[in-house]
Symmetry: C2
Subunit: 121 residues, 2 copies
DNA sequence: TACCTATATGAATGAACGCTCATATAGATA
DNA sequence: TATCTATATGAGCGTTCATTCATATAGGTA
């Protein structure tokens, strides 16, 4: 992309072309930005976060989840749908009962790092 | 907390007390949940994500940022306020011009890990 | 078959939020 | 002082989204 094209958008005149060039190299394409922000958005809701924490060590049925995190069955089901769509949980059915578990072991590494960030501020 | 209190909320009856006890130990207090989800929420907006990426290697003034990520000055300023409040950026003033830079070197580790997660799905 | 139960889901509602537009503020300069 | 410019910010608007409520679905059991 041309410097000219990059700069065109701006409404003011205090521009630093060398810095802008460096910054521009670190940007990502829109598709990546979208995937990235949607991923983080999944972790930005308290109900979903509680579900993820609850499933850290053991599978739970919807009823268990509702009880453990004190959220209505319907709300839990709605959020489980979001977590399923983002491939963060998987499930198995046993008769009427659906057992959910984490689909990604690495998730808790991310959460732990975020906690450390918060603590050190 | 008593099993009885935990279970009270649930509307159904298929409960697994042993699993519930394990899950319950991994929950966090409401304050921690709130801090954690607010932290992730900061990364869930495309404009803020672009700002963070742009600032990876160099400081930029508001005008530079607006130009690099092609977002209006006003929108950039609004999002910078959010990033400031979450202590993700710091700034220095030089006359009229305000230079922003990242306040946390670890942030990009988190983003890189998130990217890896997405790629492997 | 009829009914009970665990889970899923559509619609409605209210709250949160990101943008635009207009304007305020503050530093620089004439 | 008067004005110009870079940045900040309040109000308003439209959209997104999490919850509740009502209901659908599907598996079990009598």
């Amino acid at each position: 992309m041309d410097q000219k094209d990059i700069i065109e958008f701006c409404e003011c005149n205090v521009l630093h072309p060398e810095k802008i060039e460096i910054a521009h190299k670190n940007l990502l394409d829109n598709e990546s930005i979208s995937l990235l922000t949607l991923f983080f958005k999944t972790f930005s809701d308290p109900t979903r976060m509680k579900i993820i924490l609850a499933l850290k060590e053991t599978e739970l049925c919807v009823c268990d989840l509702s009880a453990v995190i004190s959220v209505s069955q319907s709300a839990v089901s709605h959020q489980l749908k979001t977590l399923r769509e983002n491939r963060l949980v998987k499930y198995r059915k046993e008769g009427n009962v659906v057992y959910y578990s984490l689909d990604d072991d690495h998730v808790h590494v991310l959460i732990t790092q975020a906690m450390n960030h918060i603590k050190h501020k």
